[in-house]
Symmetry: C2
Subunit: 306 residues, 2 copies
């Protein structure tokens, strides 16, 4: 039985010289009159939480001379590219075409070797596995490996260090690495609400089926939340600790993106606004007096503003 909290505390100490402590703030007017607490994790290095898992993985095991390999819709690839470059390892990233030129360009700028793969995330993952087998490079899974989940768990641990005052935390779900880390850290101490796009309902489908199942993915957030199947680690933690699973439409995600700009001058990618969309659209309705927190997890919007 994994002692998740001890592992996440160890990861915090391990990665803290390499990642940012991202800011938190209280904001009224985001879908309810009561203030909502937000954590601006999109101000993290490379624009998403993903560097936490990447650094934790690289700093907790030996890295082979063949370097690193990852499959990624974009943000995880950028994180592996950054962490690899920072720690002196070559990195080969397999990116699905649907990641789009902004995220692909970001990974290139970070100095990784890049292979663009036709199709969706699952195809890129297959190519990465072949490369791993052929070269002996170290695979960093985007969400379904303990080192990744433990690294992402530092985000929630950090938020509690920052005196998080919330009954409930809303978190967007793609493959489930971020929410798995949060559930592993919290161990049921706060209600966690999983938010998925209607067009990428990997967790929702797995909960209905009782096991991970493949789903079709599309929509505005697919390049970040478009894992085709939820991670096993995530599903196990969800079955023990999740408060609620909700779905949001693409229109609700876009409206939440616009609200984050209008109310807070934060420009985020669709995935980064998905958790807020649940609150603003009524997909999740808090009880009167319930204190709600929303994790803003990614900022790599396309096209880039400059």
């Amino acid at each position: 039985m994994m002692d998740w909290q001890a592992e996440i505390e160890a990861a915090q100490a391990r990665i803290s010289p390499y990642v940012r402590r991202t800011p938190v703030m209280e904001v009224a007017g985001l879908g309810r009159s009561d203030a909502v607490t937000v954590k601006l994790e999109q101000t993290q290095l490379t624009g998403s939480f993903k560097v936490r898992g990447a650094f934790n993985t690289l700093l907790s095991q030996p890295v082979p001379a063949a370097g690193l390999v990852a499959a990624s819709g974009g943000n995880h690839g950028a994180a592996v590219a950054h962490a690899g470059a920072r720690l002196g390892h070559r990195a080969r990233i397999f990116v699905p075409e649907m990641a789009g030129p902004t995220k692909i360009g970001l990974i290139e700028r970070l100095g990784a070797d890049l292979t663009v793969v036709s199709g969706a995330y699952a195809n890129a993952l297959e190519a990465a596995r072949t490369y791993e087998a052929e070269t002996g490079a170290m695979q960093i899974h985007a969400y379904d490996a303990p080192g990744t989940v433990i690294g992402q768990g530092t985000c929630m641990a950090e938020w509690e260090d920052q005196r998080l005052d919330a009954d409930t935390v809303l978190i967007a779900v793609g493959g489930g690495g971020l929410i798995a880390g949060a559930l592993a850290w919290l161990q049921g101490r706060r209600k966690v609400v999983a938010v998925e796009p209607e067009q990428a309902p990997t967790l929702n489908a797995a909960l209905a089926a009782g096991a991970p199942v493949d789903v079709e993915v599309s929509g505005v957030a697919a390049n970040a939340l478009g894992a085709r199947r939820i991670g096993n680690i995530c599903l196990g933690l969800v079955q023990n600790h999740l408060g609620q699973s909700v779905l949001v439409s693409d229109d609700a995600i876009t409206a939440a993106q616009q609200a984050l700009w209008r109310e807070l001058r934060q420009l985020v990618e669709p995935a980064g606004a998905a958790a807020l969309a649940a609150l603003m659209s009524g997909a999740y309705v808090p009880e009167p007096g319930e204190k709600v927190a929303v994790l803003i997890c990614g900022g790599n919007i396309a096209p880039e503003p400059f």
Copy 2:
């Protein structure tokens, strides 16, 4: 002799139910390898620090039935419109044409009555003074009134509450309300560096002349930093407490805007990036080991991303 610190503390208590406590963070890679502390004041209500001065003014004196009047290049007008609406006062804002459609639209959305005036800020100020004389409406000066300066001073007081660890603070200057508030609060306890665009050097010219003088204003930040003449209150505080006054080019401002997006996923207006531009361009060069903080003060970029 004004007891600035006591006044600013009283203002903090007065306005805290109405304004946001804006986040701070440490960021490496912004023009130097050492971490720089930034305060993201552009996440304030209406996208700039200006609501601090507006609420402080409205909450510390009676408001006539004729309501409020302000002249503004945009951000102050938005702040007066917001504070007026929040507290139930009509507001008439005179906006110079150069404010541009984004800021003009923002003020309209906030429910103020708007008059667009040909020319620059000084022309709008003249129109506002005429309206004030004719109607008895209360004028809220954008920068050169004690209530405004005291309100803006809460930004630096709040930053110190947030355990600011810096020898030096870089602050952009237009009419000088924000830096005046900071100087009034700090009373020489930290070095303050004033940063102005080369094309709007109101403070620089006043320091050279020994008194406020009119300057020509233009350039990318003119709609926010384009006051034609520095405030008297600011100049007095500067003569007692300022560490240094530097100028930055429009290219340096644009480069700092791009860096804030690339490194931090913060999209800010030119004025909001001007202080950082001084550090990145070498207009201000810290000593080895000098801890530097940069105030990011405005986010109302045009055109808006949505």
